[in-house]
């Protein structure tokens, strides 16, 4: 029977099983469940939001139904929390065990595979089906936290080089400004560009699923693998659907994580026939315009220079009551 693991002893046994399976025990999870047989932990698994992880079955019990029971329990618990699609990272050699449970393979690199339970990606694409345009299109994935002249410049440049530019705004709520506010700033800041189409990334690009370290300040070793999966998913599933032949990025002199991500793009995307075009960032007073620079200024309560960094539409939002509430109360968490 699957039970929630709460006691110190249970946790110790679960950890031992997880580590014996060659996985790392990560203390961040919402649920940790296991199956105990004759006083011994024989199967274990955890859920962190919509991600299932640390799934391990004792060697002599493999091939049975224990994994099914663990995954059923985790999906059931996750469902109660409001999630209806779930992801699992596993070794490519284990992918078929999950496919037998009706998981779908989203992307696989030499080292790691990402699978999804529920047809979330298919539904995400179908939802945006009416935005599909034939021809040679381009894409930008951006967080726009907040939307700056830098974004505007990148978008304008990119839009002039392709028939249709898809601008994917990061859906994840891990930034100073909410998705809704960011999306609104982008919409208002780009509405005069007729061949720019806005859409959200859902959890299929630069999300806590595909690329968790994007939202952390310093990268971890797992970050490189996940970056690869993020790009493989984009190249294999998203780009073909929207006829995307070029991915545009701004050159990245500031953030190391983003610089690594750009480097990974150059490595992975061309193999799928997707050109990567890096566009020089726009600068003012010898410093590149970046959203983090805007956030730093806001954190200092300094809004004088805004007009040189962000378009009027963004400035108006930032200075509105709604905008102020965000940076005046949360301004210190850049």
């Amino acid at each position: 029977m699957v039970t929630s693991l709460l006691s110190t002893d249970d946790l110790k046994q679960a950890r031992a099983l997880i580590e014996a399976s060659g996985l790392t025990f990560e203390p961040r999870f919402d649920d940790l469940v296991g199956i105990v047989e004759a006083g011994r932990m024989v199967a274990v698994g955890a859920r962190d939001g919509r991600i299932l992880k640390m799934l391990a079955v004792a060697r002599e019990h493999q091939g049975g139904a224990l994994l099914d029971q663990i995954v059923t329990a985790l999906v059931g618990l996750g469902f109660q929390e409001g999630f209806d699609s779930f992801f699992v990272f596993t070794a490519p050699s284990q992918a078929t065990s999950f496919e037998a449970l009706n998981f779908t393979l989203l992307a696989s690199s030499g080292r790691s595979a990402l699978l999804e339970y529920g047809d979330g990606l298919k539904r995400y694409l179908a939802r945006h089906g009416r935005l599909v345009r034939p021809g040679v299109n381009g894409a930008i994935v951006a967080n726009c936290n907040p939307f700056t002249f830098g974004h505007r410049y990148l978008i304008e440049q990119a839009a002039s080089l392709v028939q249709q530019l898809y601008l994917f705004v990061v859906r994840e709520e891990r930034s100073l400004f909410s998705f809704e506010s960011r999306f609104r700033m982008v919409r208002e800041g780009t509405c005069d560009l007729p061949n720019v189409t806005l859409l959200d990334t859902s959890c299929y690009a630069v999300s806590s699923v595909t690329f968790p370290t994007y939202f952390l300040k310093d990268g971890d070793p797992g970050g490189a693998i996940q970056m690869e999966l993020d790009l493989l998913l984009f190249a294999g599933r998203i780009a073909p659907y929207f006829n995307i032949g070029t991915r545009f990025v701004g050159s990245e002199p500031l953030s190391r994580t983003t610089a690594c991500y750009n480097a990974a793009m150059h490595k992975i995307l061309p193999a799928y026939g997707i050109k990567v075009t890096e566009l020089e960032r726009m600068s003012t007073r010898d410093a590149a315009i970046s959203a983090s620079r805007v956030r730093e200024q806001l954190a200092r309560g300094d809004s004088d220079e805004l007009a040189t960094l962000v378009p009027e539409s963004t400035r108006q939002f930032l200075l509105s009551r709604e905008g102020r509430r965000v940076w005046e109360t949360r301004g210190n968490t850049v």
Binding site: A65, D68, Q69, V71, T72, V75, G76, F79, D84, A100, L101, N102, T104, Y117, G118, D119
Partner: protein, 87 residues
Amino acid sequence: MKIVKKVQAGTMQSSDLMVVLEPAETLTVSIESTVLKQFGALIRARVDLVLARHGIEAGEVRITDRGALDYAIEARLETAIFRAAGE
């Protein structure tokens, strides 16, 4: 009956299926199955039958099946329908 809330029923074990029902404007049924090629049409027919029997005309029905027999499909789907109707 009407699907008024999002619910789940069933398991992911072999010979079973997991059903998710969600309110929607129109009726859509999606089926994933390890035996879709062999039995997809039969699963669909059984699902339609149960939905019709309970007068379900709108909602999103998502099924992931691992080779469940007809009576299991009926039981899981009916359970989900009763839960979704708030009964």
